[in-house]
Symmetry: C2
Subunit: 150 residues, 2 copies
DNA sequence: CACAACGGTTGCAACATGCTACCAACAAAG
DNA sequence: CTTTGTTGGTAGCATGTTGCAACCGTTGTG
C-alpha cells in the first residue's frame, strides 16, 4: 500500500492523537474553531484551503468526534461546525504549539497574532510540564514506561 | 502547483510551528528522541518507517534546527541525531498530545505506554493553560489579537 | 579477509493534494 | 415569483508525495 501509514492501533497515545487529527489542515481548522470560526465559509476564507480539502477534513474531524455539525445558530438552514468537549481538550496542545512558534520563528519586532487572557488582555503564562507534586519537569526528568507488546 | 501548502510566512505562530515540524512522522521522531533514540536504526525500528522517508525527515528536522547531527557517542564513525534546545522546547507539545490521546483513545483497561516522573515513578500532572497571574484558562477565557495584514 | 550491520539512495506504483470548473440549495432584492 | 448572489459543496485533472522493495557503499566484527 501507499496510503499514508495509520497509527490508530499504536500503544503510544501520541501516535493515536496524531492519527486522529489527520493532518496539519485539521489542526489549523481546530485552531480557527478556538478562534470562533464556525461556518464552512469562515474556515475556507481564513485558511485559504481548497474547498474539497476542507470538506474532507471537516468530515474527518466530525467522524473523529473533534467537531460536531449542528444547525446554524442564526436560524438559517445551513450547518455549523463546533468543537466537542474532546475537541476543546486540544486547547493545551494548540497553545503549546503557538508558544513554541512564537519563541522560535519570529524576529524580535516581527508581528504575529497573539493569544491573550480575555479578562486582563495579558499574554498567557508559558505552558509547563509538572510532576504530580508540582515540580517543573524537563524531558530528562521523565521516562516512558513501555507496555510489553505481548 | 500541487505541492503541499506551506505556512512558513503565516503571521500565526501555530501555522509556522506546524510548518517547521513538517509532518506526523517528524513529530514521532521527536517523540522518540525524547524517549532516548539517537541512531538512524533506532528510529527506523521504533517507527517502522521506510528508510527513505526517515532520511528526508531527519534532514528536514536538522535543517529546521530541531535536531542536530553529532558524532556517535560510542566512538564509532556513525552519526547520531540529538535534540537541540529548540527541539527540547517541544516537550510540552508532545506531553499535551500524549495526555489528549490517553484520555480519548484508550479504553479503561487498555494498555498504553506511559510517561512518568523519573524521580517518583508517578504519572504527570495534566498540562494546563494558565493566565499571567495563574488562573486556569479555558478556550473561552482567551481571545486572539490578530495583527493587521498591512 | 569474509561477512554482517548500518545508513542510506534509487526506481517505481499508488495515493493524496490542490486547482479549477461546475452545481444544487438557500437567501435577499425587486 | 423571478432574478441574482451566496453558501456549501462535488467532479475531474495534473502533479507531488508516500511507501515499498531492491540495491549499494561504508563501517564494524570474527
Amino acid at each position: 500500500m501507499v496510503t499514508r501509514t495509520r497509527f490508530d492501533d499504536s500503544e503510544c497515545p501520541v501516535a493515536r492523537s496524531v492519527d486522529a487529527i489527520g493532518d496539519w489542515w485539521s489542526l489549523l481548522i481546530v485552531r480557527d474553531a478556538f478562534d470562533g470560526s464556525r461556518r464552512f465559509g469562515e474556515f475556507q476564507r481564513s485558511l485559504g484551503v481548497a474547498k474539497n480539502i476542507l470538506t474532507t477534513r471537516l468530515r474527518t474531524l466530525v467522524a473523529g468526534g473533534v467537531l460536531e455539525s449542528v444547525p446554524a445558530s442564526d436560524g438559517s438552514a445551513y450547518r455549523e461546525y463546533v468543537l466537542t468537549p474532546k475537541g476543546e481538550a486540544l486547547f493545551p496542545v494548540i497553545v503549546a504549539l503557538r508558544q513554541w512558534g512564537e519563541q522560535h520563528f519570529f524576529g524580535p519586532g516581527e508581528p504575529h497574532s497573539e493569544l491573550v487572557d480575555r479578562r486582563q488582555g495579558q499574554p498567557l503564562r508559558a505552558v509547563e510540564v509538572l510532576s504530580a507534586d508540582g515540580r517543573r519537569l524537563n524531558p530528562d526528568d521523565t521516562t516512558v514506561h513501555k507496555v510489553p507488546t505481548r
